[in-house]
């Protein structure tokens, strides 16, 4: 189904909300899968890149990306369009990544095989990041990857995940403390 869109892609309404995107969201809300497919096409790369921060296996990244869009489709009626769609989809993706990290931790073999969440080891470094991260709790890993990986500020993390700023600060502080401890302890 071809959609009649009032403005060219990229034009915004002044509040940072793309007019074409707003039309696609409205059509998707009315049940148009074609419009939603176009929304997926617009945001899929961003979602894949974000999920790629947390998982090493391509299947994990793909699963999270699919679940992100399925969840978005189900929850479209709750999207109030006060913030760009991109922020909303980012929040869904982050929450799913966080949940999957926790679930992966629970599934971990008791023998303690290090969870493979990193790209191949940087040979120039003396630190095995994958092993180091596997020794941290999922919440710590999550916050550190957002702070140091994505380079987001505490406020950006709070806004995008829906946690309070104080909560993010406390988690970040604890995560850094545990990271330091992990660096001083023998693996």
């Amino acid at each position: 189904m071809e959609l009649a869109l009032p403005l060219a892609m990229g034009m915004t309404d002044g509040a940072g909300i793309d007019a074409e995107e707003a039309a696609l969201v409205a059509a998707s809300r009315d049940g148009s899968q074609a419009a939603f497919a176009r929304l997926i096409a617009r945001h899929q790369t961003r979602v894949f890149r974000l999920a790629g921060r947390f998982f090493r296996q391509r299947e994990d990244v793909e699963d999270v990306a699919q679940d992100t869009f399925i969840t978005a489709w189900r929850r479209l009626p709750t999207y109030a369009a006060r913030a760009p769609f991109e922020h909303w989809i980012t929040r869904i993706c982050l929450r799913l990544c966080y949940a999957r990290l926790g679930a992966a931790r629970r599934r971990e073999a008791p023998a303690g095989t290090p969870e493979t969440v990193a790209p191949p080891r940087d040979v120039a470094s003396s630190i095995d990041l994958a092993r180091l991260l596997s020794r941290l709790a999922p919440a710590d890993r999550f916050v550190l990857l957002l702070l140091d990986g994505e380079g987001w500020t505490v406020k950006e993390i709070a806004d995008r995940i829906g946690w309070s700023t104080a909560n993010v600060k406390v988690r970040a502080f604890r995560a850094r403390r545990r990271l330091r401890r992990a660096l001083t302890e023998p693996s």
């Binding site: 899968q33 939603f36 497919a37 997926i40 096409a41 899929q44 790369t45 894949f48 890149r49 999920a51 790629g52 921060r53 998982f55 090493r56 391509r58 990244v61 793909e62 990306a65 699919q66 869009f69 399925i70 489709w73 189900r74 990193a118 790209p119 940087d122 470094s125 003396s126 630190i127 990041l129 180091l132 991260l133 550190l144 990857l145 140091d148 990986g149 380079g151 990271l179 330091r180 660096l183 001083t184």
Partner: protein, 110 residues
């Protein structure tokens, strides 16, 4: 001196971890069929949603129906049944005015 050196070494390692975290990313790009796969799942999800809704609604519907039945039975028991008189049944059988028995009763009282 040793303690400060240890601290310096730790700070170096922390900086190294920060650098590695910035590079820590599995670069995966969606394949061209990704959108189609999600849309196919959407269709399946809709069927699943109907089933889910039906499963959620069915017990509620049954509960409401059971409550209504109990309420109807309770009201039915509480309401006194009109005593059918022999004359009434007679008049109804005769096919005359259904209120005729009232008049007949009235005549009896008088």
């Amino acid at each position: 001196m040793t303690r400060s050196m240890d601290r310096e070494a730790l700070e170096r390692r922390v900086s190294e971890v920060t650098r590695l975290l910035a590079e820590h990313r599995l670069v995966v790009d969606p394949d061209p069929a990704f959108v189609d796969r999600v849309v196919a799942r959407l269709s399946r999800e809709e069927g699943w949603m109907f089933a889910w809704a039906a499963r959620r609604v069915l017990p509620v519907t049954l509960a409401v129906a059971a409550l209504l039945m109990v309420a109807v039975l309770a009201v039915d028991r509480a309401t006194p049944r009109p005593v059918a008189t022999a004359s009434a049944s007679t008049t109804s059988q005769q096919g005359n005015d259904p209120l005729e028995w009232l008049l007949e009763d009235g005549r009896g009282v008088r």
